[in-house]
């Protein structure tokens, strides 16, 4: 039970629009995968996935219009996730740069 009044037709419209967009983006990501864009392939793949994720969260998961606490959960978890990616990356990408064996 939410504190604001429920607008069924607007909600359904949003749901179907998001579904349509998700289909379009799925087709897009497959199409882009078959093009040779060099390093941009990875950027595009992640970028499209992020766009799809934002739509699912905002509309399907009702994040748009929800309390700050929910945004806090989302950005907080993404921050800590990025730490878990970032530091091992620093390690792996800077190994063997000093010519010291084993470092």
């Amino acid at each position: 039970m939410s504190s604001h009044a429920y607008d069924p037709s607007a909600t359904l419209r949003a749901y179907f629009m998001v579904f349509g967009m998700l289909m379009v983006f799925t087709a897009l990501t497959v199409a882009v995968a078959f093009m040779d864009l060099g390093a941009m392939n990875n950027v595009a793949a992640i970028g499209i996935a992020v766009a799809k994720a934002v739509m699912v969260m905002a509309i399907f998961m009702h994040v748009r219009g929800s309390s700050n606490l929910i945004y806090f959960c989302i950005f907080g978890s993404l921050f800590f996730l990025s730490l878990m990616f970032y530091f091992p990356l620093i390690d792996v990408l800077t190994r063997n740069l000093l010519g010291i064996p084993g470092k």
């Binding site: 909600t11 078959f34 864009l37 392939n41 878990m84 990616f85 990356l89």
Partner: protein, 214 residues
């Protein structure tokens, strides 16, 4: 018109507080799920950077058509789940059960396709514990498949658990348990299922769409 039954539990002051607590609780749980899957994504990230070509070679053994089909199916199941939540908000109990059943049908199709894929991988010697692919970079491809089975297997397990809980919610819906005033279990089931969809939205390009332009 359903009777007005209070579902307020004794340790809460208001129904609004109870609803906000339950949804916040599910979001905190989803935070733990992000970190849970995140460990596997971390391993994937590190190894993909170290063995880019092996990962591309390994990805080519995956069937992009099946992967794409599954993506469409799972996104569809997210839509049907959202429809179930909508039905709860407009107090159409039978429609809640219907849309949940549709979600389960689509989920089952997804799992069926995954079963087909897994069987194919086993037969081609790509299952990590029974790996007999002949290639120069077979070892690193085995790492890719270790992560492939771990990530998609964990994802599938989450789907199975979710679908099990959905049975309970559908039964409760048919009993008229959910009203426009109290439909919290349907809402938080929706949050869980959309999260499952979110994980696949990232798994699909990372596993299936590597190096397809060669």
């Amino acid at each position: 018109m359903s009777e007005v039954v209070s579902r307020l539990q004794p340790h809460f002051a208001t129904e609004q507080q109870q609803y906000e607590t339950s949804t916040f609780g599910m979001w905190v749980f989803l935070v733990t799920e992000v970190m849970f899957f995140g460990g596997l994504f971390t391993a994937y990230l590190i190894y993909r950077l170290q063995y880019p070509q092996a990962f591309i070679n390994a990805s080519h053994h995956l069937d992009i058509t099946l992967g794409c089909f599954n993506t469409v199916v799972l996104i569809g199941s997210s839509l049907t789940m959202a429809m179930a939540v909508h039905s709860a908000r407009v107090e159409k109990s039978k429609m809640i059960a219907f849309w949940i059943a549709m979600t389960m049908v689509l989920g089952s199709i997804f799992l069926g396709v995954k079963a087909i894929e897994y069987t194919q991988k086993w037969e081609h010697g790509l299952f990590p514990a029974n790996f007999f692919l002949q290639a120069a970079d077979a070892g690193q491809q085995r790492i890719f498949y270790s992560l492939y089975f771990a990530m998609t297997g964990l994802h599938a397990t989450h789907m199975v658990i979710g679908m099990g809980i959905m049975v309970y919610i559908a039964v409760q819906a048919l009993r008229g348990a959910y009203t426009a005033r109290w439909y919290t279990p349907v809402e938080i089931m929706g949050l869980y299922w959309h999260f499952v969809d979110l994980v696949w939205i990232f798994l699909f390009p990372l596993l299936y769409l590597l190096g397809r332009h060669h």
